[in-house]
């Protein structure tokens, strides 16, 4: 069978940086082709080239019978290429219909004929077994539903090849399975799909073939059934990993953070957190698992005072801190690695040195008599750069944070928040968008803090991260804690059910019913901690 897409020798440079170099890539009709690689391996660049958002510096694209030169995404769309980005390209304040038809003026006419377009949209959705409501506002939809709108939007444009960028990042395991069903159905109908991902289990479960990228180059293309997760990891990373290891457990009695029936309201008056009770001890890591947008950000923000709570109490080492100012709360010894380093954690136009004193700029020794002591500030910056191996630009400590890579930016935040040895460390998505080297480094810093007696509240949507670091795991869904389990009872399917909104008890029952695993139930039935059983495949990968 002839491929529908063939990309040969694609190179794309940004300034002097080679995001893609000599990439060969092809896709067959009706194939689900996984494009695998770590952050920054060049997956997105390659796909943006294919989608007409970037022009390649070298190489050729051959699609659906002829060589193509896409000047814009519009060209790509017109030839039948669709793309669903990781961050949905939907306008929240517009209706589903408006989002699906936008940019189609030339094809569908100057006047918007709502009734007729609505019919067309519903027909397409029905053909692939999807339900959508064209009149709803996108802002009212769940993440899974928004993704469906994206898929219908692509299909509405007559897509023959659909690119999906990390489609499962925001889905529960169950929603993911639902999505994969839809994808399989689309592939049965002859549609080609490119799945960009860094999750090996997804590659294994849904794709026909897989191409692995590393440092902008293809390391291998293999049939999925002929490969293994272990082999793919090697292609992807090129070396063995030495993951950070957990040691020791909760000390049990030195309670540091305690949330007592905390409820907080969102902008629309809805509850973003409801009756949340949690506690974290000194020297312990409590992992909060959950699908993005279920109240994790709010949880972190109410503790540090960035967000007001409606009811409930928060204690830090026995002292009530709710209602105090951010400055007071921070001053009590809380380190906070925020979810979004560009928005919260850094002032990108400030230098490394300035960012490192963002919370201590008006304290001794950096300020003396109302003026800055630049000797001290520079010394501190140099120390931190060395200690946390922050790679600066040529300007050294005077480099603006903007000019650094994501990993090094995050290291600034980690250095600032961890180095003072806080009582409590809140880490939200501490390794999002960070390369594997920096991820390892950051994980080790978090574990080191824990060993030094810091209580750690780790909030992450990456189950592997939660599993790797946490002593206890709580699952949050729609602002409520679905349940809490010790690390020994970690089981992906169980956590997945809880992430989808089942309480612990229900999830246990359901999980037992499917017969997927019995470890957790065994553990809790007799209080016995099982020996090092074979963990799910993910663990083997990390080992």
């Amino acid at each position: 069978m002839d491929p529908i897409l063939r990309m040969t020798g694609i190179s794309k440079y940004f300034g002097t940086f080679a995001a893609n170099e000599g990439v060969d890539f092809d896709v067959l009709p009706g194939e689900i082709h996984a494009l695998l690689g770590e952050n920054g391996a060049g997956k997105s660049t390659l796909m943006n080239v294919l989608y007409g958002l970037y022009r390649p510096d070298k190489g050729e694209i051959w699609f659906d019978g002829q060589t193509r030169h896409f000047a814009s995404s519009r060209d790509a769309i017109l030839t039948g290429i669709g793309m669903i980005h990781q961050h949905f390209m939907l306008v929240p304040v517009h209706t589903v219909l408006e989002n699906i038809i936008m940019g189609m003026g030339k094809e569908k006419g100057f006047l918007v004929k709502e009734a007729q377009l609505e019919k067309e949209v519903l027909e397409i959705a029905a053909r692939y077994g999807m339900e959508i409501n064209p009149r709803a506002l996108v802002s009212e939809l769940s993440v899974g539903e928004q993704q469906r709108v994206e898929i219908v939007k692509a299909l509405f444009r007559g897509t023959k090849l659909l690119i999906m960028d990390e489609p499962t990042a925001v889905l529960t395991p169950q929603e993911t399975e639902e999505l994969f069903k839809t994808l399989r159905r689309m592939s049965d109908e002859g549609m080609s799909i490119i799945l960009i991902t860094h999750k090996l289990n997804e590659v294994m479960s849904v794709s026909n073939r897989v191409t692995v990228l590393r440092d902008g180059k293809v390391t291998n293309t293999v049939m999925t059934r002929d490969s293994s997760e272990y082999e793919l990891t090697r292609f992807m990373i090129g070396r063995e990993l030495s993951p950070a290891c957990r040691e020791g457990r909760c000390c049990g009695d030195k309670l540091v953070l305690e949330l007592d029936h905390v409820t907080c309201e969102g902008e629309m008056g809805n509850h973003t957190l409801e009756n949340v009770s949690l506690s974290v001890c000194a020297g312990e890591i409590l992992g909060i698992a959950g699908v993005d947008g279920n109240g994790q950000k709010e949880l972190a923000e109410i503790v540090v005072g960035l967000r007001a709570l409606k009811s409930g109490r928060i204690f830090l080492s026995g002292e009530e801190i709710a209602g105090k100012s951010i400055l007071e709360i921070i001053g009590k010894g809380i380190g906070y690695i925020p979810e979004d380093r560009h928005k919260r954690g850094l002032v990108l136009d400030f230098t490394i040195g300035e960012n490192l004193i963002l919370k201590d700029y008006n304290k001794k020794p950096f300020t003396k008599g109302g003026l800055f002591d630049f000797g001290k500030i520079h010394g501190h910056a140099d120390d931190m750069i060395k200690k946390y191996s922050i790679k600066t630009s040529a300007a050294g400590r005077e480099s603006e944070a903007r000019k650094l890579s994501g990993g090094n930016q995050q290291k600034i935040v980690v250095a600032r928040e961890v180095d003072k040895g806080p009582k409590l460390l809140i880490a939200v998505q501490p390794t999002r968008g960070v390369d594997i080297g920096a991820t390892e480094f950051i994980h080790k810093q978090i574990l080191k803090a824990k060993e030094n007696g810091t209580a750690v509240l780790l909030i992450s949507t990456e189950l592997s991260e939660i599993n790797q670091l946490s002593d206890r795991i709580a699952v949050v869904y729609k602002g409520q804690i679905m349940g809490e389990i010790p690390h020994e009872a970690f089981e992906e399917s169980l956590i997945g059910l809880m992430m989808a909104g089942m309480t612990y008890e229900k999830a246990m029952a359901a999980n037992r019913g499917t017969g997927q695993g019995t470890k957790a139930s065994e553990f809790l039935a007799d209080g016995h901690v099982p020996a090092q059983n074979a963990e799910p495949t993910k663990e083997q990968v990390n080992a």
Binding site: L78, M89, E98, I101, M102, M104, K108, G109, K153
Partner: protein, 310 residues
């Protein structure tokens, strides 16, 4: 007797209010298109000034107020093209660019006014718009006098309200404009040329603000003087916010400012105890009050003020 006086007073007031709201309405509708696409245009003030000047020049040299209005629109488009070039293409901060455009307009109009007409003490006279009574309608009591005995530009301005609404909400252009202003990246991914849409919207705002300026010089004062816009362009920007970025709201906002302005003039001539300067302040203070959102919270287009670069 007193009642008749009051009725006449109110007719005159409302008629004036309608007229005074027109320049703001023109410019604000233009500003709406620009802002809906994501570009704040505080250069409206300068564009109106240019329109007022060009209208007089056009009418003076052609003898036709209609050609004057056309020249005003073209000059507005020209200045808006410069604004679009520096904000959309070169991507200079939109506020700063607006300030520069206003400064440029002040210079250009006063320079060319002196260059063309010399330094005169008596204002030059040109053909201006005169009221057109709509047959039948204008004879209606009260309503006829207020609504249907106005100049042609007034009718055009009010006709533009439903037209703008239709374009914005019922056509693919409107959907593209709204998408570009809310989520330019999404627009880009479906092939909407973000910066071209923005440029066109800015040009539209130039044409409309130019016409608004021409209304002042050709439909109201029948002459040009330096700085004659005196903040109406800025008030138009406020009217866009106050009117929540939609034509209906903008119509209401413009009318309110029109009434405030008319009231101020009437009260001045009525010789009541308040110093006239305080009455003059009224429209500006009203704008400030409108911006506090006491009258209701507003949500701006998400991408407003942010340049789009791939």
């Amino acid at each position: 007797m007193n009642d008749i006086m009051n009725a006449a007073f109110i007719v005159a007031l409302l008629s004036a209010a309608l007229r005074l709201s027109v320049p703001i309405l023109f410019a604000a509708l233009g500003g709406m298109f620009s802002e809906r696409s994501g570009v704040v245009n505080i250069g409206l003030e300068g564009i109106m000034l240019t329109g007022a000047f060009a209208g007089v020049v056009g009418s003076y040299f052609t003898g036709s107020q209609w050609l004057g209005a056309l020249v005003a629109m073209l000059s507005g488009i020209a200045l808006a093209a410069l604004f679009a070039l520096i904000t959309v293409k070169v991507q200079i901060n939109q506020i700063v660019s607006g300030i520069a455009i206003n400064l440029l307009a002040v210079g250009l109009t006063s320079f060319f006014f002196r260059a063309l007409f010399g330094i005169t003490t008596t204002p030059i006279t040109v053909n201006a718009f005169s009221p057109v009574s709509l047959p039948g309608l204008s004879t209606l009591p009260f309503v006829g006098e207020v609504l249907f005995s106005q100049t042609a530009l007034v009718y055009i301005a009010f006709l533009l309200v439903p037209v703008s609404w239709f374009i914005l909400y019922k056509t693919s252009w409107g959907l593209s404009i709204r998408t570009v202003g809310e989520h330019p990246t999404a627009a880009d991914t479906v092939g909407i040329p973000v910066n071209r849409v923005r440029t066109l919207c800015v040009l539209a705002s130039g044409a409309l603000a130019g016409l608004g300026g021409a209304f002042l010089s050709l439909g109201q004062f029948n002459m040009f003087v330096d700085n004659m816009i005196s903040g109406r362009g800025f008030i138009a920007v406020a009217a866009v916010i106050f009117g929540r970025w939609n034509p209906k709201g903008i119509l209401i906002a413009s009318l309110i400012f029109g009434v405030a302005d008319a009231l101020q003039i009437r009260l001045q001539t009525a010789g009541i105890g308040i110093p006239y300067q305080f009455l003059l302040m009224f429209p500006y203070l009203l704008t400030v009050v409108a911006l506090t959102g006491i009258v209701g919270k507003t949500v701006a287009p998400k991408a407003l003020g942010k340049a789009y670069a791939k």
